[in-house]
Amino acid sequence: MASDALLFYLFATITVAGALMVVTQKNPVYSVLSIIAAFFGLAGLYVLLEAPFVAVAQIIIYAGAIMVLFLFVVMLLNAPREDAAEWDRSHPLYRPMAMRIGGALAVLLALELGWALSRTTGLAAGIGEDRPAVSSVEELGRVLFTDYMFAFEVTSILIIAAMVGAVVLARRREE
């Protein structure tokens, strides 16, 4: 349907524009807000792909929980504005080695993106196609706890280890 393609371009624009704003904004608070906008655009794309659960989970976890913490820290530390003009030649990013490696990576990334673009048939491919109606939550749960059981459990162990580590590091030493 035409309206689906229209929505795809709308959400895609929000996502890309948000992502670009993250790096171009000078004020870190605005960067955080831009990435939240990008997450919302992404959530819209998930909804168009008939995956409402993924869309909402992404909003809850990234936009709702993680970015609140980011914003919290940025505000608490009162992070200064970043002006590229203020950097002098002594900034680590101006070292010859860093510039060479960075430049090589940028060229590589551009080549890879060009290659990927040349192989896609249509930008909005797959949007608005008729899919069999499955209850995505049930389906996702079944797959997660059967086929991907091991990966799922390993990931949760990893997260618990990180949490325990954070608590140990943050705890005050008792005299």
Binding site: V56, I59, I60, G64, L71, S136, V137
Partner: protein, 349 residues
């Protein structure tokens, strides 16, 4: 062209527009009614009269308040971040309205026989409604945090930071209590969850989840009050310490928008509680077509409890708030969730 006009004038489309209008205007009216009710209930509990001059029994007081707020001067601190300062109240109000979208408030109706097929009394029937409400509720915090930061004032910033810390702490317990009901009902759609609560045990006890899950209801109620920043959890605006917290620097309609968001959030949390635990629009004596009457009655009772709490309980201390959230509510919700999971799995509750 004709096709579009036909679709736009189809009875279903018009009925749908009417429902959206009912929800939008209804929430606004509820906010106004809550302003009046809050002042009257407060007055009653403090043995005063409350507003009584504007209109019969002071009923037009909210209108007077709104007109006053419209015509007040709009102030903005010089050092404030102009863009975010105006954006913050908009985020608050938008999140408040949006959260009500997946909430059903009555059985499917034909609008007194005007439609051929019954239409659902809700803005959008999402199959992950419970999660949508949870997600949008967690968006509301951005309005408060940004207001605190953009005002460039120490009271506002502290209020905003406190609010985000509080919301993050209570969101976990909130989510766990939601998950418990989702497991019992085996569905995330609020319509399905309400339908599961129709009927009676032994012919007279209604099959509401509050009787099966009293602990989940308790956790949901505490976390819901904390999420809406109401007393006894109203830390973001603790007057004695923070002047008015995150909205210290706001005046006029921008201030009114924060206020409206707070009242609409109260209505939404109460409506969700009615749907999840109190059987939604099901109740005795009233035929199913008029189920929304039951819904409104239950909603009104819960909203009154909100006011009752505010004027009865003193505010927690900040450390008490944190230890209550992390050491009491969260373990309680977790154990309840695990027990419910075991019950559903082994006994098929």
């Amino acid at each position: 062209m004709q096709g579009i006009i036909d679709r736009l004038t189809a009875p279903q489309t018009i009925a749908y527009a009417v429902i959206v209008g009912i929800v939008f205007m209804g929430l606004q009216i509820m906010a106004a009614v809550m302003v009046y009710a809050e002042r009257k209930v407060a007055a009653f509990m403090q043995q005063r009269y409350g507003p009584y001059l504007v209109g019969p029994r002071g009923l037009l007081q909210p209108i007077a308040d709104i007109v006053k707020l419209f015509f007040k001067e709009e102030l903005r601190p010089k050092a404030a971040d102009a863009f975010l300062f105006s954006l913050a109240p908009i985020i608050s109000v938008a999140a408040a309205y949006l959260a009500f979208a997946p909430v059903p408030f009555g059985a499917p109706t034909t609008f007194f026989g005007m439609l051929d097929e019954p239409i659902k009394l809700q803005v959008s029937d999402v199959n992950v409604a419970v999660l949508v409400i949870f997600a949008v509720a967690s968006m509301g915090v951005y309005g408060i945090v940004l207001a605190g930061w953009a005002s460039n004032s120490k009271y506002s910033l502290l209020g905003g930071l406190r609010s985000s810390a509080q919301m993050i702490s209570y969101e976990l317990a909130y989510g766990m209590s939601l998950a418990t009901v989702v497991m019992m009902a085996n569905s995330m759609s609020l319509t399905t969850i309400v339908d599961q609560q129709s009927g009676y045990w032994f012919g007279f006890i209604p099959k509401w989840y509050i009787f099966l899950q009293p602990i989940a209801f308790f956790v949901f109620a505490c976390a819901g009050v904390a999420e809406t920043n109401r007393a006894p959890f109203d830390f973001p605006e603790a007057e004695q310490e923070l002047v008015a917290g995150y909205h210290t620097e706001y005046s006029s309609m921008r201030f009114a928008m924060f206020f409206m968001a707070e009242y609409i959030n109260m209505v939404t949390v109460s409506a969700v509680a009615v749907n999840l635990f109190l059987g939604g629009w099901y109740g005795p004596f009233i035929p199913a077509n008029y189920g929304w009457i039951w819904f409104v009655i239950k909603l009104a009772v819960l909203l009154f409890v909100y006011l009752w709490l505010r004027w009865t309980l003193p505010r927690f201390r900040y450390d008490q708030l944190m230890s209550f959230g992390w050491k009491v509510l969260l373990p309680l919700a977790t154990v309840n969730l695990l027990l419910t999971a075991a019950g559903v799995l082994y006994f098929g509750l």
